[in-house]
């Protein structure tokens, strides 16, 4: 056994002391909802491969109030992920030079959010068009 007991600065709750890090932990935390949602879809895919009865069990299961509550939370979390993804984008992508000037952060974030909104509405329209 190691007899030395060096001082280790405690880390618990460090991020709660600074609003910047609280926001950081929330936007990193959206990954838990993305993962859980993907696993729900994967479960659905496996049930689909097992035939109609199995698929209907999965589909009925989604009506469970706990699943509904989860999906409301997931909707909020993933929407927040969309917002932060494009908010950070000016710093995660190489600078864009237009007419000798650097494209402002607002343009990149705003453009990204506009594309995301369009993509979501297009997806809804596509699903509606196919299902109708």
């Amino acid at each position: 056994m190691n007899k030395r007991r060096p001082y280790v600065r405690p880390m618990a709750g460090w991020w709660r002391k600074n609003p910047f890090f609280v926001e950081y932990m929330i936007h990193e935390g959206t990954a838990l909802f993305v993962a859980a949602y993907a696993l729900i879809l994967l479960t659905g895919l496996v049930y689909l491969s097992r035939g109609e009865a199995a698929w209907n069990v999965w589909l009925e299961g989604l009506k469970n109030p706990w699943y509904i509550a989860f999906h409301w939370l997931a909707l909020a979390a993933v929407s927040y992920h969309t917002y932060t993804w494009f908010k950070i984008m000016p710093r995660t992508m190489p600078p864009v030079i237009v007419g000798g000037k650097r494209l402002p952060d607002m343009a990149i974030t705003g453009g990204g959010l506009a594309v995301a909104t369009t993509a979501c509405l297009a997806l809804l329209g596509l699903v509606w068009g196919i299902a109708r």
Partner: protein, 122 residues
């Protein structure tokens, strides 16, 4: 000196993270709304939108297969990478074991997705 330079594998994981992050940012909210809320609660869309016949046809279609595979696997690679890099922040050592669990989990789920999509047939 070593004859071959050791190259980092980080860009691969980062690319998968980026692709999954972009896909979930663009389509995530609407996907969650459609499969998790609109269909179970009977809102907005026709009730049989996700019926067995329709979903089977979608999963048997080559475009549908690609879409399902991209959504499930890239969402998980994105989440795995983000969770792995947040472990240190919550006081968990992000070592080789944590790496194997995070990326290994995403890889396992990717293989299950691919296998199931192939099992469903064309």
């Amino acid at each position: 000196m070593k004859k071959t330079l050791k190259r980092s594998n980080a860009p691969i994981f980062w690319a998968l993270f980026g692709a999954g992050g972009m896909l979930s940012a663009l389509l995530g909210p609407m996907l969650v709304f459609i499969t998790g809320l609109a269909i179970p609660l009977g809102m907005l869309l026709p009730v049989d939108t996700m019926s067995y016949a329709k979903m089977l046809a979608f999963a048997q279609n080559i475009v549908g297969k690609g879409f399902i595979f991209a959504i499930i696997s890239l969402f998980l690679w994105h989440a795995a990478h983000r969770i792995f890099h947040s472990l240190h922040d919550i006081g968990i050592h992000a070592g080789i074991v944590a790496k194997l669990i995070c990326y290994g989990g995403a890889l396992a789920a990717t293989l299950v997705t691919a296998y199931t999509l192939l099992a469903i047939g064309f």
